[in-house]
């Protein structure tokens, strides 16, 4: 399973780079969107993936819970990426003088 996840992420990243090197501004933005999502997945994946073990303390033995730290990091990364991508889009829509 890990192998498949890793390959999928690799493909996502490859798709992102492919787009990024496209040359137009839109290409760059799409590429960056894909890449930032890929990067988020990289963080989550390297931390180790567990099923059905959301890090909510509701009685489940702690040892079985998923690692909450990568999740927090990814959340921060998503938000930061979101903010930056939104800004990037403003550069695209600037009226050309």
């Amino acid at each position: 399973m890990e192998l498949l996840i890793a390959i999928t992420i690799g493909i996502l990243i490859a798709a992102g780079f492919y787009r990024l090197l496209g040359g137009t501004k839109v290409d760059a933005i799409i590429g960056l969107i894909l890449l930032s999502q890929g990067a988020n997945l990289v963080i989550l994946a390297s931390g180790g993936l567990k099923r059905n073990a959301a890090a909510i303390l509701d009685g489940t033995p702690v040892a079985e819970l998923a690692d909450p730290l990568p999740q927090a990091l990814v959340l921060t990364a998503i938000v930061i990426g979101f903010g930056i991508l939104a800004f990037l889009l403003t550069l695209l829509i600037r009226p050309t003088k």
């Binding site: 399973m1 890990e2 498949l4 996840i5 890793a6 390959i7 992420i9 690799g10 493909i11 996502l12 990243i13 490859a14 798709a15 992102g16 780079f17 492919y18 787009r19 990024l20 090197l21 496209g22 040359g23 501004k25 839109v26 799409i30 894909l34 999502q37 990289v42 989550l44 994946a45 390297s46 180790g48 567990k50 099923r51 073990a53 959301a54 890090a55 909510i56 303390l57 702690v62 819970l65 998923a66 690692d67 909450p68 999740q71 927090a72 990814v74 959340l75 921060t76 998503i78 938000v79 930061i80 903010g83 930056i84 939104a86 889009l89 403003t90 550069l91 695209l92 829509i93 600037r94």
Partner: protein
Amino acid sequence: MDSPFLLLVLPALVALLTASFRPLVRKHSKIAGLLITALFFGGAAILLTGISHEAEALFSIPWAPALGVDFALRLTPFSAWFGVLVLFLGGCVNLYACAYFNGDARLPPLLILLGLFASAMLGVIWSDNLYLLFLFWEATSLLSFLLVGFHNDQEVSRKNASQAFLITMAGGAALLVGFVLLHQDLGTASLSQILASDIDSIGTAAIVLIMLGAMTKSAQWPFHFWLPNAMVGPTPVSAYLHSATMVKAGVFLLGTLAPLFSQHPLWTPALATAGIMTVGTSVLRGARETDLKAVLACTTLAALGFLTILAGVGTPGAMLGFVIFLTAHALYKAPLFLAAGNLEKRFGTRDLTKLRGAARQLPVTGIVVVVSALSLIGLAPMPGFLSKEYLLKATWSYSPILAIAVALSAAGVLALGFRVIIPLLSKNDELSTSKLLPRGMSAATLIPALAALGLVAALPMSSHEFLGPAASALGADPAASYKFWYGFTPALGLGMGALALSLVVTRVMMRPTFPPLPEAFRPYFDRLFDHLIATLKRIADDVGKLLEKGQITSHLAVMLGFTGTLSFFALDLNEWDSLALTWDGPSLIFIGLLPLLVIASVVASRTDKTLSLLVSLGFVGLLIALIFLWFSAPDLALTQLMAETLILFLLVGALAQAKRSKQVEKSNPAPFRLIFSIFAGVLVTLLILKSMTLEWDRPVSDYFLKESKQSAFGANVVNVILVDFRALDTLGEIIVLAIAAMGANAALGAARKRAPLPDAEPSSLLATGARLVALFLIPTILWIFWRGHNAPGGGFIAALVAAGGFGLGLLSSWNRLTPPFMRKCSHWLLIAGLSIALFSALVPLAVGETFFVGLWLHLDSLHLGTPLLFDLGVFLTVLAFCLNYLRHFHLRSL
């Protein structure tokens, strides 16, 4: 005197005073000149009294001990004598300059630079620390640059000054490296200690580099060509720097180090060769020049050549010759230059062919020219005779061949002297002037010549008191002294022979058919230098273009290629712990999510149609959210979904705009992109696998899981990490959003105006529906916000939902949502959000706790604390960000 070292700053102080009283100096130039000269002469006199009494005086303050740099000065009889020359001639030159530039606005800057220069020169000769010497050395180069380029509105001044500067700087660099190596070899940077060391511990590299440095400064072959070119500077500058002082710095260093370094096998041959070559080229050049200053510059070159030879030989006898040669040259060359200036001032030209008989018209100048030229030619009883004799004596006892070479080349130099003196003294009735020279100029020209005469007139005394001790400080025999007559020595014979030969050479040079220097001729090394600079500029041009021009994608490709390659080679493909690959059996994720994700991302990467782009991106986002959910990250899934939606909303507007503006840009060729991206993908896959294989224990996460409920009062560990454990990250994150919000304004402007509404009425169904949804949204938002600490939810998601609500309001054209309203809203929400967040971080400090600690109020099972307040700040900031973007993009997409 207790501290003669104060004299080092004397000229600099004079410069400072001049700088402070510029208008006064300009108006009363003559008085200023007299004052300054008096100060300089006074300094020289003080030094003079101290010469034979002090064996060696030292003064030292540490400056950067870790690097071996100390402000250390030492005064030996030789450096004191040299200091006398520097100050004495400095006084004369200042007097001259004040008379020459009388009332001119350019006088104060000139005096300032000359004063600073004099101090720098004294620094060079009095430094005991290698690096301090280097400091003053560079200072003299810099000041020389400014002085040579004094008339910098002329192109040739700028060019020649730059040339000299670059060459001496390059030499300085070599010198520094040599000094560092010397310091390393001997463990000390103090000259006095170095001179007492053993030659065997010194590496060849250090010696060679120091020689090179000195050779550039003293214009030795092959670095000689800058000196004649430096004559573009004003006459006082040429007289001071390029005859008496600055150029002597190089040979000074060589002379000081000679007693020790001459024991090295390379020293004497190298320096002797360089010296002879210099003399030879200077004679060849000087023979063809017609500019008086240029001819004098060539004779200076020759003199420096001879001094280099003497330093090269390095025997006690050579050092004896070194001192007298240095002295004599300074005392005859400076007045000759000043005289040239006089002639130029009165007759308007420096061309020898036009100055026939000029010396007869100006009596004082004429006498000085005669006296000094005789000294140059080396006729007794001038000091020049002594220098010639001692030079020949020293080289003869070292190597007769060398002595003969010296004599032959000296013949050429003497011929140059004749070549100057003969036209100037010949009878010419056409040339006449009734004007007299300013007295200052005449006096300044006369004084050094008188000093020279005085020196030889009082020879036994001057030899015993000044010259002798100076020479012995350099390694000469303390018992030796300067005499005119040694009997019929080979040196005398050689000298006579040289003189005779020079007369012949002069006749040859003075023939009318002797070809003068063509206008456009620049000697070989000069052209080589220019060529070097031109090549440099060409290479630089290419490099500059390489670093800058080009498509962004090619640049990205290079950068990413580099990083990827570096990472790839660091992957130890052999050392791989077995991958704990699990196989959960066929499940949703394999059948549905992953393949779909692959398809969606590939489509997104290739499509150009807007719709398929949006759909595929949407799918990618959605699938990733599902993957998050699958792998136990509910908060992530929610955040991803909301963020994705908003980005797509913004993207719609942006793509529409981009299509409208029809940007035409090149695309990279597909095969290259494909290979590159596949490489990147493979690399990332390997990296992920590698990090999955390593199973370290996770004390950090374990701690979070343990403490979250106990100490942080939250069951949703991810949320607790965000608002408590690692709240500083989140603070940065909302600041990023705040910056992004400001950034939209920065990039797009305030966008105050409202775009015209579309014609169609907004659907009333949409309007009513929207209001209903809004009604339900408010409690939902509150609920999401509140439950975040113990279940999936939290400030961020709540804010995104709220933003969604506003978006809905925009779409249904809710009247309240005008651009100014939204602008104000987002502005104040932003300030509020940031303030609350910062407040919650800082308030613990007020109660003596650490920054950002959670302060809790416990009401039974309800826990209220600053982290919740912080979450509120997050909420407000995120909302502000979303509102601002909705405002900007909504307008655009209309």
